[in-house]
């Protein structure tokens, strides 16, 4: 009896195991397209592949642009590939990984942080196409500020057309300003005015309130303060060339004389006395409890903190409006003003646009995409919410900010017109190494005594020297 029972159990066990094995094999076979990625549309075919930073939702949002593009160019098949990344540095790493994997995209949406990395190694200049289609492009350049365009000039050639951009302006919480008994600051407020504003906010609020919150990043960290003080942590020079572009498209622009063949950052400048001065100012804010010690990389808590009224002021650009709105902030809860003035009121901005890869199979088709994406029609389809600032002046309008704020949304584009020397995020081809060299020394510089500050700047200088010596 036990024998037959055992045998029976043995048989059922075997059947169960066999079924399990078959199940696994079946499931593997069924999911084979998923396992090999063959189910991803457009994979391995010859369509024009466009890489953007973002999620599938962002890629889907571009579907309407693709549809519109297909109407104009039915012969070009396009696929948009959204690449997820924590920041731009991470995104560029992913693109380089794709290059290494032998599957580079044809067109990449690149921000200022990577403009020179791409221009130097990976991208194809737009010059010939711009010359060819100059007549079509007039309308675009007339609507876009030359400062943005200059950021994408590299050694006399243009590599990208700016699509969206953001400057580091100053956001403030209207409630905490009012409770400190203050009015909206003047357009030309100075760094001392700013400090006084923070002090007043400090007095009027509880101890868990921070008058000035900032993060340690390339955009919106120390750099706006360095620019305002007419300096930078890298020596900024400009290369020659590019005159053809400026005479073709910006001959009558008031800031025409300022324009060049592109920015160059070749030497470190961290030991400049003005750099010390700017850092010392921030150190003072930290010491007196007016500003936080900046965290590296962070920022994911920023929207929540600001929306919950825990922060008085913080540097940010037009990209922030949508996030604040979603976090529950009303259009009267916050507002924006220019960054305070020091020796100058030069602002810092970042911009982004499509770059054609050197390896692109069909560069003419790629150019058609770049050109179409810069058109008013395409940009209207992309920028429906204020989660960034469109590069076209005509699109930064009442309608975009209606119901979401800020009241003084005009500050965003006025930044470029009022302060034509406003400059891009300093990002030489060795951007990743340079960014690390800057960021890792900031916290130390602003959270100790004067000796520690000096030491941190000296070490920054050394790190930057090393970084710039790398071949990118």
């Amino acid at each position: 009896m036990p024998g037959s029972d055992g045998k029976l159990r043995e048989i059922t066990r075997r059947t169960a195991l066999g079924a399990l094995g078959l199940g696994i094999i079946g499931a593997t076979t069924a999911s084979w397209p998923r396992l090999t990625g063959m189910d991803i549309p457009g994979r391995g075919d010859s369509s024009l592949s466009i890489a953007i930073m973002g999620t599938a939702a962002d890629a889907a949002a571009r579907q309407r642009v693709i549809d519109a593009f297909s109407k104009v160019h039915p012969e070009i098949r396009v696929k948009v590939q959204a690449i997820q990344a924590v920041d731009w540095k991470d995104f560029f790493t992913k693109i380089l990984t794709m290059v290494a994997a032998g599957t580079p995209p044809d067109v990449v949406y690149v921000a200022t942080e990577g403009a020179q990395l791409f221009a130097d190694k990976l991208a194809h200049p737009l010059d010939e196409y711009l010359r060819r289609d100059a007549a079509d492009m007039k309308e675009y350049f007339a609507d876009v500020h030359p400062s943005l365009v200059e950021a994408f000039m590299y050694k006399g050639s243009l590599f990208q057309l700016p699509i969206d951009w953001n400057a580091a302006n100053m956001y403030y919480n209207t409630g905490s300003l009012r409770s400190a008994g203050l009015e909206r600051p003047a357009d030309n407020w100075t760094h001392t005015d700013f400090r006084a504003t923070l002090a007043a906010m400090r007095k009027a609020n509880t101890s868990d309130f921070t008058p000035y919150y900032w993060t340690n990043r390339l955009f919106g960290g120390v750099v706006p303060w360095l620019y305002a003080n007419d300096t930078s942590f890298l020596k900024e020079t400009k290369s020659t060339g590019g005159d053809w572009l400026w005479t073709t498209f910006y001959a009558n622009d008031p800031s025409r004389s300022l324009r060049s063949g592109g920015y160059q950052w070749l030497e470190p400048n961290a030991t400049d006395p003005r750099v010390f001065e700017s850092f010392d100012y921030l150190r003072g804010l930290v010491k007196d409890g007016l500003g936080v010690r900046p965290e590296e990389g962070g920022g994911s808590s920023l929207v929540g903190l600001f929306a919950s009224g825990r922060i008085g002021t913080t540097p940010a650009g037009g990209y922030w409006v949508q996030g604040l709105n979603e976090a529950g902030m009303t259009e009267d809860g916050f507002d924006v003003q220019f960054f305070p003035r020091w020796r100058t009121q030069r602002h810092q901005f970042g911009t982004a646009g499509y770059a054609i890869m050197k390896t692109a199979k069909d560069k003419d088709a790629a150019w058609e995409w770049v050109k179409f994406s810069a058109s008013l029609d395409a940009m209207r389809l992309v920028f429906t919410t204020p989660n960034t600032t469109p590069s076209r002046r005509s699109m930064v309008n009442e309608q975009l900010y209606a119901g979401k704020g800020p009241r003084h949304w005009k500050v965003f584009y006025d930044t470029l017109d009022r302060f034509p020397t406003t400059g891009p995020i300093p990002a030489p081809p060795q951007q990743a190494a340079v960014e690390t060299a800057l960021m890792k020394n900031v916290s130390l510089a602003v959270s100790g005594d004067e000796a520690q500050l000096k030491q941190a700047l000296e070490s920054m200088q050394r790190d930057l020297e090393l970084a710039l010596r790398r071949q990118a």
Partner: protein, 309 residues
């Protein structure tokens, strides 16, 4: 647990004379998937990265042979040096803390307790192990925020002013260690629980008759008898701690300054942020040699102890 770890005396005689053909054939057939797989995906890459350490390569352009240049540059790089020192300091402090906390809690749980409480505590202390280090670091970062974090809020009740956890070298090193230990002590805890269970109770009874109770009992009875477990626990804790990456990467990005940059972080940064694959490999080779050396030394030590009982 008991089945997986118990040592049972067994006669090897039958197996020994079984050095027959079918068995050897079967052995290699059984080993084939693992041997081929590891050869391809572990050994080959190890050899390849060893070779890569002698080249300069950025993925985009073809590699060029540079001899020992990468090693020379790496050894002179102050960031690399600091990060190795950080790693060693981290290992010493974190492992000591991890073992200390785990041992203390294991002894407390192992003494008389209602069974359900014991199960509850074991599950609770084990829980952090199943979370991913990345998500743990994400929420810990909020908790340790200087202005708005819960940690500083709690400390304010005992009169401690806001600690700049993530923005000063000492503070961020402390956070990285605390978060790491928070997540990993449960592992050593379980090892100690297993070790304590294997100490015969007669030993304690004899000690009690000699008047050894409380702390003295543990000092003179538990600790010596637990030494094999302690060694195994420390070997595993040290290997793990030497490879720490997720916590400092998410919590502090290695900052401020280089204060929380670890060896593995430097490898990641030079490879995937600066595309210096040769240098990254050189650092990796050095780190691997250090890990192998430490582990070999410990295993030699532990062998003695394991056969001791």
């Amino acid at each position: 647990m008991s089945t997986a770890t118990s040592i049972r005396p067994r006669t090897r005689s039958a197996a020994a004379k079984d050095e027959r053909h079918p068995q050897r054939w079967l052995a290699w057939a059984f080993l084939a998937p693992t041997v081929v797989g590891m050869g391809l995906f572990t050994l080959l890459p190890i050899v390849a990265s060893l070779a890569l350490a002698f080249f300069r390569w950025d993925i985009i352009s073809p590699p060029t042979f540079v001899g020992f240049d990468n090693f020379a540059e790496v050894v002179q790089d102050p960031t690399v040096r600091v990060s190795f020192l950080n790693t060693i300091m981290f290992v010493i402090v974190a492992v000591a803390l991890q073992l200390g906390v785990a041992l203390a809690l294991a002894i407390m749980v192992q003494e008389k307790l209602p069974a359900w409480l014991r199960v509850f505590f074991r599950s609770a202390f084990f829980f952090p192990l199943i979370l991913s280090a990345a998500s743990v670091s994400i929420f810990m970062r909020y908790l340790f925020n200087e202005q708005f974090g819960v940690v500083n809020w709690l400390l304010s009740f005992v009169g401690i002013p806001a600690v700049p956890w993530l923005t000063t070298p000492g503070g961020s090193a402390a956070v990285v260690i605390l978060v790491y230990v928070w997540q990993n002590f449960g592992f050593s805890f379980l090892l100690f629980i297993g070790g304590l269970a294997s100490i015969p109770n007669e030993t304690y009874e004899a000690a009690a008759l000699d008047g050894a109770t409380g702390l003295r009992k543990h000092l003179h009875v538990t600790l010596p008898l637990l030494s094999p477990t302690t060694l195994v626990a420390s070997v595993m804790a040290i290997i793990n701690a030497l490879q720490v990456f997720d916590q400092p990467y998410v919590l502090t990005r290695g900052g401020p300054g280089d204060s929380t940059r670890t060896a593995v972080m430097v490898i990641f940064e030079s490879a995937f942020q600066r595309l210096e694959f040769g240098q990254a490999s050189a650092i990796g080779v050095i780190l691997t040699i250090i890990i192998l050396a430490i582990t070999a030394a410990q295993l030699r030590l532990s062998k003695r102890f394991v056969f001791y009982q």
